[in-house]
Symmetry: D2
């Protein structure tokens, strides 16, 4: 392809790197099809008029102001590979111009869903404590060790939030003949039914589930919406599994609910990360801990690069991007997940 | 129902008890429909001619000799709720007379399959060690902690043995878009394909799988068939999950293969149960232990009673039993699983 | 393989032929592994002592008496490729000796299920009459032509009989999110639930279904059990689809129910085959006719040979046959389907 | 709700009517929640400044100019219930302002998919001609009548276009264990794989399929792209099923391909509708005709109203619409399906 026909891409993917999100082969393809300008995210404006005039895509989430955007008349999309949208660019201007703001967070859906299922099965069968007991020669053999064990098969399951992660969770649960109810106020009921789950109110999900999975993003409206009252509504012995962000729950209330023996819980996210060494959840029985590792698999990161290539290919052909998630005019300002600083 | 129309059932379910395998409601139904004679399993012959003459069903696996069987002309079925067939009755006579020998072991398929999946996910994500590290303040946050993590989704999975347990495993794996290969020399290839799995040789299953599940029963022919050579054929880092009986593998060879770092493993069964306190597997890194607890859930035991009632109902109507597994003339003598002594 | 090690097979598959049920390749395999003796079905006894003494398998359903069977001490199985069991051999003797009586009728399950689904969709959308109208220039365009059209998706469906055919039907219906109820008194309710269908009484199936599929075999007990009263119970406008044998219904009553406009119907089977030219069903509006063609596809016949080879291979290794259906001691005498005379 | 809080909706759904697309209950809900102004689609501008100032939604696809749009500052969405986008409003202005242009065509996906499957099964089994023969006493019984019959189960299937209709088709085909390949240049390959279909080139779809379903919309780029050369590439005896618009194929070439006996075909759409009485396709053997009736079921129209209510409910809460399909800036000008004039 002649040099000038290859669209120009600004690469500013911090905290990711191109090597993290592209396989060697995908990176080769990227360089073949595009002219890549590696840029300091803090100084996109400094790239020079000639470069800015030709920018087709930005990979990353650098701060941008209206002026700089005006200098990029051919910009089609910002491919945010960190995936938590922060308020560092004039989104309204982007939407008016039809510049897509795309996120690649769905790469985490599958690994997080697998971790969520693993957590549910671990809580249902007491696997961690049983293994520790076995190491120490205190294991209990056979049915005696299963007093509080239970099955996922045929159980009632609640999912709070039904974005990519909720859908992935629903898929890995598909072999369990469970009754699955979903609470997601951002989605129409009929769309949930199309996914073979039952739309339900938050109260129904809390009161009727043996397992509750929380995969809702934090927004300006739902911070801490799962609190002591919510945990009290849960079935005694039910399992609460937190996979999205700690901000959506009252973490202390969850610790108290587990401490009291009312519910079991597992979490991949915490109010502070890293968590202070003296935090009570560290030694809380009935609680399974994971240090924000549910999604961050290399296989997931590598899919980001694939998604970026697939959507740029569509946009190169004047088609809308179909692979990444698009930021929405109505909700972009409501998202409150803090971006990650480590991968 | 007039007393004499209710079929007579000998109850000798040791080591189970009627209370273990029937819910209160099912037990009521059993007593309404049948005359129950609770018998000493060691002395069925001593029940008296009148009783023996009327026996329709035996629930349990008491020793029986040809003479005693001759005195039970109306016997239709022996419902073995322990489920490991032992050589304590003249099976050939039973087959000739068309007396069904039924086992209820499939109640364990679902709980064991869930445990097997949990083990696979635990090995894939290092969940136990990560939780222990977190308790001790040594946890690693984010992707750094996932160096050797992997996904089940899209992986290659091998299942050795495709009875009730293999099928249940295949079902809970259905949401993972994995490539599933099965080795089972007792089943025709087309039947495996009907179950959406790929029939494969043992070598193919061993060499091409990221996860190998062993759910084959021990027979006179397959004791120790998974040995050092088999483990050496496995992919480096693959996971070996043993769910049926320790007798099918060379346990020491498995320990060595894990110790060397070649594979990861999990097991619910052990060469001796309970296992000596100094057995090396107790502290072996890369090994997940479960003390023969995978199947023995109360919910599973209670299904045995249901199965017994459903099949007796069919036989009462001169129909063949369809719920329990029937012992087969060709293979009854080949089965070598030791019966359990505790539930 | 040395000649004498190859098991001896009597071939008497009438009305099938080896060429009908084996592909060229399968036939080659059959001849490589077995010594084939093509026999006159009416004179198996005349084969000579030496031959009879070595017979391992009979492919076909020739008349056999007790004496002749005694002369075949090595007989393992009779593979009945016609598949309707007739009363021309001492089944009790076969069962006592552990000689399997196997049928291959399940090869028809898939083609019949596809035809059944096609019939349901045709009745739901009036496809035949619409095509005829189009040929004649009388077609009605758009929604006007859909006054009585309906969807299978989300409908309530009843299946009467849940053998191989019922299961195949359930499978091809799996993409329709329909509520499926099954009536089958020969199967335990829990087994139906395991197949993701709801066990139901005959009355419930008749009164609550938009589509009723009949796939029950004729037995000594169910001849004509679907009669005028049954059809009257059906929902107005519901569709009745008969796929097994005409003997299970009162055919005149079905004709009357369709004539009155109460229900729609389709059938692959008729009280007489061929049907008299003046039979009223030939021109009955609201009735879709198929001349016993639902199952008889070449692809189905060729699978019979595969099934025979797969089960003989298992029996050669002293394993029980797992591919064909086995005749059951309790029910063999109850089956009343007339064998076919043409393929 | 106080009058002034209820959003104002302009109703101009021609050729639909509110009664066609809303059930009585849904219409009640619509009137409770919204102020409905029934408008002449040709004179939206004439509604008066006060009304226009308050318009929140327009149900329909009336012609709109930039000036009129300026007078509707609160307009959130145009809900086009006809569903073929025509060029009668300044879409670019709408996109700039973030006014959603929504279509409800996915209500037709399920009925069209069922019709498409019915057509495939009809072609595979010759059902129409067999029924006509039966009416006329010329039917052929049993396998003799199945010389060219084939199964969908296990076949190779190609789908051209994978929008709502392609997905619905994939769903109703899910019980057939078929190999499904999809050609859709507007979608990334990985998205197709996520739907369990294999992305393929057009040539591969044409040359390797036993059944080809065409569900692609007409665009400015694909008119007539399936032509004589394409049909010639198909497998002899394969079935071609046209469900979207006649504009995507060279209809005369299809007629010729069927006439020559090379392929079978079915179509719901025609180059002229109604079709001239002397069009050769009317009596073409090997061709199944449907007069644009595949989608137009009452149940489908009624879902439009539901979709409209669900998305307006989301937008009332400042959330993006999730139920209807949104017109896309990149492609709105490329769509070329003629709108329907009858329902």
């Amino acid at each position: 392809m002649p040099e000038t026909n290859r669209p120009l891409v600004i690469s500013a993917p911090a905290p990711r790197t191109l090597d993290l999100i592209f396989t060697a082969q995908a990176l080769r393809r990227l360089r073949e099809r595009y002219r890549i300008v590696e840029a300091d995210p803090e100084n996109i404006a400094g790239l020079g008029a000639e470069t800015l005039a030709e920018v087709g895509y930005i990979v990353g989430q650098p701060p941008l102001d209206e002026k700089t955007l005006e200098r990029m008349p051919r910009l089609r999309a910002i491919l945010n590979v960190e995936s938590n949208l922060i308020n560092n660019m004039p989104y309204e201007v982007l939407f008016q111009r039809g510049i897509h703001v795309l996120t690649t967070g769905q790469v985490f859906a599958e690994p997080v869903a697998e971790m969520g299922l693993a957590m549910a099965l671990n809580l249902a069968r007491g696997i961690v404590d049983a293994d520790i007991a076995f190491r120490e020669g205190r294991e209990i053999w056979g049915g005696e060790g299963n007093r509080s064990a239970r099955l996922l098969s045929g159980s009632e399951i609640g999912i709070i939030g039904f974005g990519d992660l909720g859908k992935a969770l629903n898929r890995v649960l598909s072999g369990f003949r469970a009754k699955i109810r979903v609470y997601d106020p951002w989605l129409p009921a009929s769309l949930l039914r199309d996914n073979d789950v039952e739309p339900a109110s938050l109260d129904t999900v809390l009161t009727k589930s043996d397992f509750v999975f929380v995969v809702a993003a934090v927004t300006s409206e739902n911070e801490g919406f799962l609190d002591a009252k919510a945990f009290a509504m849960m079935r005694p012995g039910a399992a609460f599994i937190l996979l999205s962000r700690a901000g959506v729950i009252d973490f202390d209330a969850l610790v108290a609910a587990v401490e009291s023996g009312h519910v079991l819980a597992a979490s991949d996210v915490f109010p502070e990360e890293p968590l202070p060494l003296d935090h009570p959840v560290r030694r809380l029985p009935g609680f399974l801990r994971s240090a924000h590792r549910a999604g961050a698999l290399d296989a997931a990161f590598k899919r980001m690069g694939e998604m970026v290539l697939e959507d740029m290919d569509l946009m190169d052909r004047d088609l809308p991007p179909m692979r990444c998630r698009r930021a929405e005019r109505e909700t972009v300002a409501r998202m409150r997940s803090r971006p990650v600083t480590v991968n």
